[in-house]
Amino acid sequence: MTTVLTTGPGLRGGLGESVRRPDGGPKARGEFAFSSDLEAEDMLWAHLLRSPHPSAAISSLDLSPAFAVPGVAAVLAAGDVPGRQSFGLDYPDQPVFAGKVVRHVGEPIAAVAADHPITARRAAEAIAVTYEVTEPLTDPEAAMEAPPIHERGNVLFHQDIVHGDPGATGEVSVEGSYATAMQDQAFLGPESALAVPAGDGGVDLYLATQWLHVDRDQIAACLGLPLDLVRLHLSGVGGAFGAREDMSMQVQLCLLAMRTGRPVKIVFSREESFLGHVHRHPARMWYRHSADADGNLVKVEAKLILDGGAYLSSSPAVLQNAACFAAGPYRVPNAVVDATAVRTNNPPCGAMRGFGAVQVCFAYETQMDKLAAALRMDPVELRLRNALRTGDTMITGQVLSGAAPVAEVIRAVAAAPLPAEPGPSDAPEIALPGGAGRTAERDRVRRGIGFAVGFKNLMYSAGFDDFTTARCRLEEGRVTITSAAVEVGQGLVTLMQQIARHIFGVADVSLGEATTAGIGSAGSTSASRQTWMTGGAVEAACRAVAERLVSSVAQRLERPLASLRLDGGRVCSDDGAVDLSLVGAASGQVFEETAVYRHPPTEELDEKGQGNAHVSFAFGAHRAVVDVDLDLGLVRVVDVTTAQDVGRALNPLQLIGQIEGGTAQGVGLAVMEEIVLDRGTVRNPSFTDYIIPTALDSPPVTIAGLIEEPEPGAPHGAKGAGEPPAISSTAAVAAAIRDATGLELARVPIRPQDIALALAAFEEDRQ
């Protein structure tokens, strides 16, 4: 199934190869500099004072106790912001500093710069704030009718989808209500940055983010500075998963640097990190699926409520995604979706890997299993029968024009062999549910198998002008690629080198600094878009340089352009008379080209949710095998097998990394990951209590298929693979636990008590 892409004779490290990351060695050895490792001479440390209350009026704020702390250089609060008072990805509704009210726990109220991080923290704690605490609005359903907690109202966004005949009915229908909890991206590198005031009245900010230019635009607006005076430089990013799309402290830090005239650094503690970035929207979802007696879907109805928390962030786009993908990767002729994102006093929610597609996948796949049961049909068969294909129409009216190997991913997973059943004493005790806790009793462990399919869009949608910029420079035979695209760990740095090697046939490819100073935007490292988008721009820039190189040779040697080509690192003529190395071909000249790449335009959805809103889609399927302790409700995910629609595997090793990581993040949401809220307060802002899978909880991920059906229009046919592997593993694990227990389990994460107490109550009823 794999296609070999050649990169010229004998050259290693081109496209299609499992090239090692340039930053892999330093990261493994602990030598890689993350943004928390930044330093500058004479640097100060910043700390933010945050609201302890989810909802309160600030009746007085006295900063003087902080000024009185020795070592403090500046204290800032609302009123010290020279430009726009608020920021936000979609609309600036989030204040830099809370003024009269606070709307969520952790909202910044003031910022301190001091000579030591502990001094800064203690000074911030010394600030006297008088709060008039008000009842927080934390129920997303109540929020729609409740008095507004923000001047822009409590409904952040609403999207209807009405497709086909809303009155259509099927012979069989199943209904259910589902919920997903608030998940955290749980990256390991906390928010950190260094702001350095510049002599020209501007500021240089070194930071970990996902999109340098959009941060820059927002910071400049709040600082009241022209764009060229705010320069952002990428520092080592310790994971992102969506949590670095919004700003967390950028404006406050720049303000402190400009006020003090000194470099100022900030590093969030783990608790601050949990409070200081957006999370995955918790969802409440009602569904009704109708089908004919043969199992052909007739209609899907859904009502979706996403809790956006206190501020807008990217809620509209997340909600639109949830609505667009609400019916799953199936042919659904009739659909009615009513989707709303609401504002509450819970922590703000925004982007996280899967972006609205994860929540609905859990619901629609549970529905598909219910429907299969009602039809007495094999769940895999039901899915195959309804699987989308190229040429089918989705519930948004968009016709699928690209690759849509839905049936292929389903078949690949369904055909994969199952892991062996453990014998009575075969599996070591630590591999049973409960793991290191020694709790399992082998005859009380049940195995279950679950299956799920999911999909989502690639790149930005709904009319957004999505573009990316890259530069290629050829000097003395060396290629340098420069782009402001952010490497978050996914491996874009490797891929950019692979593309350049592929075109120039040289091994040595350097990467320039990712910065807003001197190159245009590369767009966000999100929406599974950089392989396609920045990959496309790098390819275009390299090709432009290659063309100029070849035509300069043609001119110099007075040969027809068509007789020359760049091949395997040499400029040659067909007749063999010309055979120059890159250095020889350039003859002292330096070539530099900057390319801007855009994907085909998309449309906004109309009021009935119809329109060609997306460029491309990626599909994937997971099958999970779990063992469940029936008395304790503890789960061990034994195996997850997956097949993914990837277009082309440009770097199989990195691709597998994305698939394993995405799958594990989905497993986490299925069985343990949840920001626990108690009336707006986060009860578990630490890795002690926000638990993510350990090695013992992460199953082996078996890849049953990398489906390589090249995507028309995509550079080299490759689809993005950052998010798709994260979509259906949650649903598959939940289905497997249902299979083992016979319970309904309509909410993730599934907690031990959801299983054990339900089964115990069931037992009691029977007796």
Binding site: P433, G435, R438, G633, R636, T694, P752, Q753, A756
Partner: protein
């Protein structure tokens, strides 16, 4: 902030006498977490890592003497696991390899968390703690006298936990810990059961289901009735599908919190105690970790 690293117990006491407010540091796996979170601001630190008297373990007659500085990794070592299998089992449930290499028995006891994983087994083993003062004073206390509330002990300023004594090879021992992840997790319920065939006694202790470790005496009494000591087997309902669930649920005093619910904790403690008993009477040897 001065940090002293005494090389003997005598030196440690000398430092403590000079700095009465000094705080003791062992493996630092609780201590440093609190410092980093800003919850602990020590004026003076006495690091016990180089005090030889607190290290390791020895046999003293039919007692095993465990140094306060004994690490979890040492508790799991085969020689010690044979003498006190229950403690080895409990130690294996703790944290990650890094934590087990650094964390100590003394630190676990002094932290006095309701979820401290060695505490239920120490309670079930009837362990005795020896505390020392710089004036040479020593006192020996049981766990219930030492740990009196969540994170509250009767350790006096300047007092050092020196050692812990338990009986060697005290019957069948079983420790089970329920957490919401398969490793590296704080217990939401745990149970320790020691069935001493020589002395014909049963001791049951529950972790994470109350403000301190709970000794379940009612369960012990009922269990004793269900044991045929001569045949070394369970009789009556426990032979079949009977369990201690109800008795354990009554003994437990758990809370609802972000880690779990009181109802589940009660339920899980019951399951653990019942399973521990079945294992204690199974023909297989008690599994060392």
């Amino acid at each position: 902030m001065p940090v002293f690293v005494p090389a003997s117990l005598e030196e440690a006491f000398a430092v403590l006498e000079g700095a009465p407010g000094a705080q003791l540091l062992a493996g630092g796996t609780d201590f440093m977490v609190e410092v980093n979170a800003g919850q602990r601001r020590p004026a003076t630190v006495v690091a016990l890592g180089a005090v030889p008297e607190l290290k390791g373990w020895r046999l003293d007659g039919d007692e095993v003497v465990l140094g306060a500085g004994l690490t979890y990794t040492e508790m799991i070592s085969p020689e010690l696991a044979e003498l006190v299998p229950g403690l080895a089992q409990a130690a294996r449930t703790v944290g990650s390899p890094q934590i087990r290499n650094a964390g100590t028995l003394g630190g676990n006891i002094a932290t006095a968390s309701p979820a401290g994983d060695t505490l239920p087994m120490l309670m079930a083993l009837g362990a005795t703690m020896t505390l020392g003062r710089s004036d040479g004073g020593r006192r020996a206390v049981g766990l219930d006298e030492l740990v009196v509330g969540p994170k509250r002990t009767t350790l006096q300023p300047g007092e050092v936990l020196l050692e812990v004594r338990v009986r060697a090879g005290a019957g069948r021992q079983e420790f089970l810990k329920v957490g919401t992840r398969n490793a590296m997790v704080i217990a939401v319920a745990s149970a320790a059961v020691v069935v001493d065939f020589e002395r014909r006694s049963v001791r049951v202790a529950l972790g994470s289901v109350g403000p301190v470790v709970i000794r379940a005496e009612e369960v012990e009494r009922e269990a004793a009735k269900l044991i045929d000591w001569d045949a070394r087997r369970l009789v009556g309902p426990l032979e079949g599908s009977g369990d201690f669930g109800e008795l354990v649920r009554t003994a437990a005093r758990p809370i609802d919190d972000h880690r779990s619910t009181a109802a589940y904790r009660r339920h899980a403690a019951g399951v653990c105690v019942t399973r521990a008993f079945r294992r204690a009477f199974s023909s297989e040897e008690s599994t060392a970790p």
